[in-house]
Symmetry: C2
Subunit: 146 residues, 2 copies
């Protein structure tokens, strides 16, 4: 299928040897914008690949990160979230439902002013927290009820 060829190429371009398990993990990330954790990925793939080990998911994701094939989001204490989109973009984490939203269209933060101070920047994370539109709506409705 066309899709798996795309995954193989993406891995090879990042110097990662493709395996059944690595392709499954990367494929999940590329087809889901939900910034999943290891547990979410493992739960989704385990029924397909019945012998899959959670350690393999950890191994794959750590390898992907070292090769710049995925971005990591340390957005809460409940475990690392992963993102196949490595372009710099912002995120919004809803404190109510826990969903993580992408924020494009944010102004770019400067690298040059920081590097002028001697820092060598390799990542830039922008993250808001609060209530997502759906949860904010429920919030205001239930407070109207009072």
């Amino acid at each position: 299928m066309e899709n798996s060829i795309k995954i193989v190429n993406y891995l090879l371009q990042h110097g990662i040897r493709p395996s059944i398990q690595r392709m499954a993990v990367m494929g999940y990330l590329m087809n889901h914008q939900n910034h999943p954790t290891v547990d979410v990925i493992y739960a989704a793939l385990s029924p397909q690949i019945r012998t899959l080990s959670k350690t393999t998911v950890y191994n794959a994701l750590n390898l992907f990160y070292e090769h710049g094939a995925v971005a990591t989001l340390d957005i809460d204490e409940k475990g690392t979230h992963y993102d196949a989109n490595c372009e710099i973009h912002g995120h919004f984490k809803c404190l109510q439902c826990g969903d993580i939203f992408d924020l494009f269209n944010l102004p770019n933060l400067p690298f040059d002013t920081i590097e002028a101070d001697g820092f060598k920047v390799s990542e830039c994370h922008i993250c808001y927290k609060g209530y997502c539109p759906a949860c904010a709506k429920i919030e205001t409705e239930s407070s109207n009820h009072k």
Copy 2:
């Protein structure tokens, strides 16, 4: 002493009843700009308050956070970091030495455009990663040596 009065007032202003332990934790945060973890705070205070429990440090910091008296930094998987400075400002985490630096003078990110989309923003985190000036210097020197 003048210092402890400042701490008591800060806690009271945030609706937090001051106790020996809470004052010690908040005092440590106010006198150290290093964004410490629970373990760091506990290790620093334990010799002074010999009966201090690590659970109490967790309890205090969680309470502070709920009352808006401290900011939390989920900047890596190695545990939550705490900051007595609740003003919005950026951070830089060195991937070599692990130090976390404050970044003031960053351009303010927009709240209004995000809230126009229905999000209710309560926190905004900006975090760079890479090598700090000291570690970047060592890096370039050792590569010159080759």
